[in-house]
C-alpha cells in the first residue's frame, strides 16, 4: 500500500468503468487522450485508443 506519487500530469481522470475497460483491453489509461472536460477519459476514448493499436500495458 505504498503511496503513489500523483502529479497533475500523472493522474488520470476517468470513471471507474473506464479504468476497468482499459485494464480489460490491456490499455495503459495514462496514455489515452481524454476527450471530456479537462481531458477526462471516457469509455469511447479508451476504445479508440485500443483500436488505434495503442500500447498494451503489462496487465496482471
Amino acid at each position: 500500500s505504498d503511496e503513489e506519487v500523483s502529479t497533475p500530469e500523472g493522474r488520470v481522470f476517468a470513471a471507474p468503468s473506464a479504468r476497468r475497460l482499459a485494464r480489460e483491453l490491456g490499455v495503459d489509461i495514462a496514455q489515452v487522450d481524454g476527450s471530456g472536460p479537462g481531458g477526462r477519459v471516457s469509455d469511447a476514448d479508451v476504445r479508440a485508443h485500443a483500436d488505434s493499436g495503442g500500447d498494451a500495458d503489462d496487465g496482471s
Binding site: 500530469e9 476517468a14 479504468r19 485494464r23 480489460e24 471530456g36 477526462r40 496487465g59 496482471s60
Partner: protein
Amino acid sequence: MVVGDIATGTDVVVIGAGPGGYVAAIRAAQLGKDVTLVEKNAYGGTCLNYGCIPSKAFVTASSLAHDAGNAEEMGIHADPAIDMAAMTSWKDGVVDQLTGGVEKLCKANGVNLMEGTATFADENKVRVGHDGEGQGSESIEFEHAVVSTGSRPVQVPNFEFDGEHILSSRDALALDAVPESLLVVGAGYIGMELSTVFAKLGTDVTVVEMLDSALPGYEDDVARVVRSRAEDLGVDFHFGEAASEWEEMGEGITVRTENADGEVSEFGAEKALVAVGRSPVTDTIDLDAAGVETNDKGFIETDDRARSNVEHIYAVGDVAGEPMLAHKASKEGQVAAEHIAGEPAALDYQAVPAAVFTDPEIGTVGLTEAEAEEQGFEPVVGQMPMRASGRALSMNESEGFVRVVADEPSGFVLGAQIVAPEASELVAELALAIEMGATLEDVAATIHVHPTLSEATMEAAENALGHAIHTLNR
C-alpha cells in the same frame, strides 16, 4: 506435526473473518473458487464485534439521550436516565444480528468456515490450531492465501489492559455502568468518538494527548469544531502530555503524565481508556514460513492487486497498511478475490473516504488544499458554513462546514472536508464525484433536495466557482 493432523486442499484460504477477510472469501466463492475462511474468534472481526458497529451504536444512543435532555429550547423537556447494562446488551444484540448475517452470507455463497488459529507452515500450507475440546490442528494446502488478520490496540508501557482500571476500546464498549469519570489517553478518532459518547452519557471526561491537538492528521479548522463541541460537553483536554504510569487510588486510579519538559501531572479518574493507535497482527502467523515480508511497522506491503511479495499470497485490511479502515479492508478483499479469480481488478480508486463519528461528524475524501498544492495542482476551494444551511438550523445545528477542493484550471473535484451533522453520509456524493472525474460545475449543476444538508455540497462547489447564492463569494 501434531497428532490428528488432517490435510485438506482449497483454492483459497482466507485468514481472519473481518471486513477484509469475509468480503474476500464471499467474492472469491461467488467467482467459483473453493474457499476456506479461518477465524479464531468471531465472524465480522474487530469491526463488527468491538469496533465500527458497537461504537456507532453507542454514538447513536448517547446522542439521543443527550439531545433529548438538552432540548428545552426546542420545547422538549426530558431528563433521560441511562441503563448502561441495557444499552450494552442492545448493542450486543445488534452485533449478534450482523455477525450472524456474515456467517449466513458466507455459507449461502458456499464458503467453508473453519474455526481456529491459522499459521503458515510453508508457502502453500497453513496449519489451523483448535483450542479447547477437540484440540489439535489440521493443515490446509492452498493455491492462494489472503492474510486478513487485522490489528490490535497499541499498548502504552505500564498501561496493560486489565478491563477494570485500564480499558481498551473493546472494554469501553462493554461496560455495564456509566463511569463517573474517565481519563482518555489519546485524542485520535477512537479516543474522540468514545470521549464524546461518555461525555454525552454523563461521564466526566478528561483527555490527555501527547501531540498538541485533537484529531492529529485532520486540518486545524476541522478538528477545532469537534474539539470545541467536546469542550461544550464538558471534556477537558490536556495536550503535550504522555501517560507514564498509574496506580489505584480509592475506588479509582491516579494517572501520571509527563510533558516534553519532563514536568509531571496527575489525573484522577474512575477508569482510563487507552486509545493511542493500532498495530497489525502479523507477528503471530509465521509469515516467515511462507516467505512473506513485513515493513518496519509490521505491515505487509502490497501492490495494486493486493499481493504481498509472494505472488500468490495477498494481504488486505489493517495488515496491509494505512488507512486502517473497514471499507478499505473490504475493497482490498474484493480486489484480491477478483484478481485471484482472474478478473481484471485493481486497487485503482482515486480516494478512500473516512469519517469520524464525533459531534458533529467529520467526513473527508481525497486531497486537502495543501495536499493538492503539493501534488502540483492549482487548487481552488469553496466552502459553505452550516449556519447558512436551512436544514442544519432546522435541526438546531449550526457548527461546521462543507469544503470542496478542486483543480482550478480543469475544475476537477480533488477532495472534500466536511464537519457537519451526517458528514459520514454527505461524503459519499463527493467520493463519487472524485471517482467519476466530476468538475465543480457538475456538482453545482446537480439539483439537490431542499432542505437538506447535502445542499451545502452544491453551495460549496458554487462558492468555489464564485457564484454561490447562500454565501458571499470569495
